[in-house]
């Protein structure tokens, strides 16, 4: 066949344009957008599960309707939460610090 689609996709069963085409000009940006999509999907998976969990806990009477919203940890627990927050931030953004150190 002479048209470009058959040239790209011979009747041989391979996915078009290869299995993993880069579609943005900059491959790094291309990869970053894919990562954002995956991360957002996983964020939704976690959020949906937490919503379901809170619903189950409320419906079974384990939690009052506003229990999570009004939950105030004591100082020990609050410190542990802050430490977990900082660990996440440092883990995700450590590459930026590496860039800063190398310039």
């Amino acid at each position: 066949m002479s048209d470009p689609y058959h040239q790209q996709t011979p009747e041989g069963g391979e996915p078009l344009a290869g299995a993993d085409p880069v579609l943005l000009k900059d491959p790094v940006t291309d990869a970053l957008l894919r990562m954002v999509m995956e991360v957002t999907a996983e964020l939704w998976v976690e959020r949906e599960r937490r919503m379901a969990l809170e619903d189950v806990l409320r419906e079974t009477g384990v939690l009052a309707a506003d229990a999570v919203e009004n939950y105030a940890p004591d100082e020990t627990r609050a410190a542990a939460v802050r430490a977990a927050r900082d660990e996440l931030i440092n883990g995700v953004f450590k590459e930026l610090r590496r860039l800063a150190r190398s310039t």
């Binding site: 689609y5 041989g12 078009l16 085409p21 957008l33 998976v45």
Partner: protein, 354 residues
């Protein structure tokens, strides 16, 4: 959808898989929704650029060049391509967990009624069908769970619009009768998982209804689904261009989104075969893509994108062929060509001379 019909869609094996796939359905909506999606912004962008240039966009090359200059165009490509890849990876993963059970379940239904299933282990899959349509892993025929993948994949692809077979029901509801009103035998060609087939049986309950497809996994899945629905329809693993039915046999032949998935040379064979098996006065009903004459720049771009990056190997060929002319060349007379109103699909009603 009703509980009975909902239970026919294979369920993801974890809550996480279900919500991941639901997210992808929403992401497609974010890009493609005609009223509030990214595509609406892109349509405006084309309109503004056209106004700035003082002329409408011309050929695909100029449309593509403009899209690739913009920031939003390549991002749209990346999102749509990645969404499809993410979808198939997750669908494959979630059903592979129960692969052995799902394959055994299919086998358990093969010999059950009310309808019959005819498989043909000697059927050679034509080379033209050896394509990863919409990037589905293994295409439509290589994986025994192709029907499962396809059912859940098209649920995501249609963004929920086909839940409860809404698209198939709507299309079949508008199916015309032959001019003499007689419908005793109906054929759904390239029926995949039989969604139109069972809907046609609902519409013509006294008719003998057949669905054929080249893919064994698809017709096995279609048969299982029909058995669970209690629908008395028959499925056979056969080619649309070689149905093996007698001359003058069917009152109505139906083809839902088949023709853009096959090369034009095969489309001509399918139309000729349909003209052979339709009885005089029978009607051929086709739902498929429009030609590109009246497409918007974004629709033209999207069709090309699908062909280059989304496993639509033959869609461009179909959109540029004269399908009405092809039907008439086979001796069928066009009764109506009905646009869907969105510029994507047409319905053809073509009669065999009585």
């Amino acid at each position: 959808m009703s509980a009975a019909e909902a239970s026919l869609i294979p369920q993801p094996t974890s809550r996480a898989d279900a919500s991941y796939l639901s997210f992808l359905e929403g992401l497609r909506e974010f890009v493609l929704n005609e009223e509030r999606g990214l595509d609406r912004d892109l349509d405006r962008m084309f309109a503004q650029e056209s106004e700035r240039r003082g002329q409408p966009f011309g050929d695909l090359a100029s449309i593509t060049a403009f899209m690739e200059e913009t920031q939003a165009g390549p991002v749209r490509n990346r999102m749509l391509r990645s969404e499809q890849e993410m979808q198939w990876r997750r669908i494959q993963k979630t059903f592979d967990v129960n692969r052995a059970e799902l394959e055994a379940d299919l086998a358990a239904f093969d010999a059950r009624g009310p309808g019959q299933l005819i498989l043909d282990p000697d059927l050679q899959t034509p080379a033209y069908a050896n394509v990863h349509f919409h990037l589905q892993p293994g295409g439509y025929h290589k994986d025994p769970l192709a029907g499962h993948y396809y059912h859940y994949g098209t649920k995501v692809f249609f963004r929920g619009l086909n839940d409860n077979e809404r698209v198939h029901k709507g299309a079949a509801a508008a199916t015309p009768l032959p001019e003499d009103g007689q419908v005793h035998r109906v054929l759904d060609v390239a029926c995949s998982i039989g969604q139109s087939t069972t809907v046609l049986k609902d519409k013509f309950p006294d008719a003998q209804v057949w669905g054929i497809d080249h893919s064994a996994p698809m017709v096995r899945y279609a048969h299982r689904r029909a058995v669970l629905l209690g629908s008395d329809v028959n499925f056979a693993q056969r080619l649309a261009e070689d149905t093996r039915f007698p001359d003058d046999h069917f009152d109505l032949v139906y083809a839902m989104i088949l023709f853009h998935e096959i090369p034009t040379r095969i489309a001509r064979e399918v139309v000729a075969e349909t003209a052979r098996i339709l009885r005089p006065g029978g009607v051929f009903v086709v739902h498929d893509f429009v030609d590109t004459t009246h497409s918007t720049p974004l629709q033209l771009y999207h069709r090309d994108f699908d062909s280059r990056f989304n496993g639509e190997a033959y869609a461009q060929e179909f959109c540029h062929c004269d399908f009405s002319g092809m039907l008439e060349s086979a001796g069928l007379k066009i009764r109506r060509v009905i646009p869907d109103g969105y510029g994507f699909m047409n319905t053809w009603w073509a009669d065999r001379a009585g």
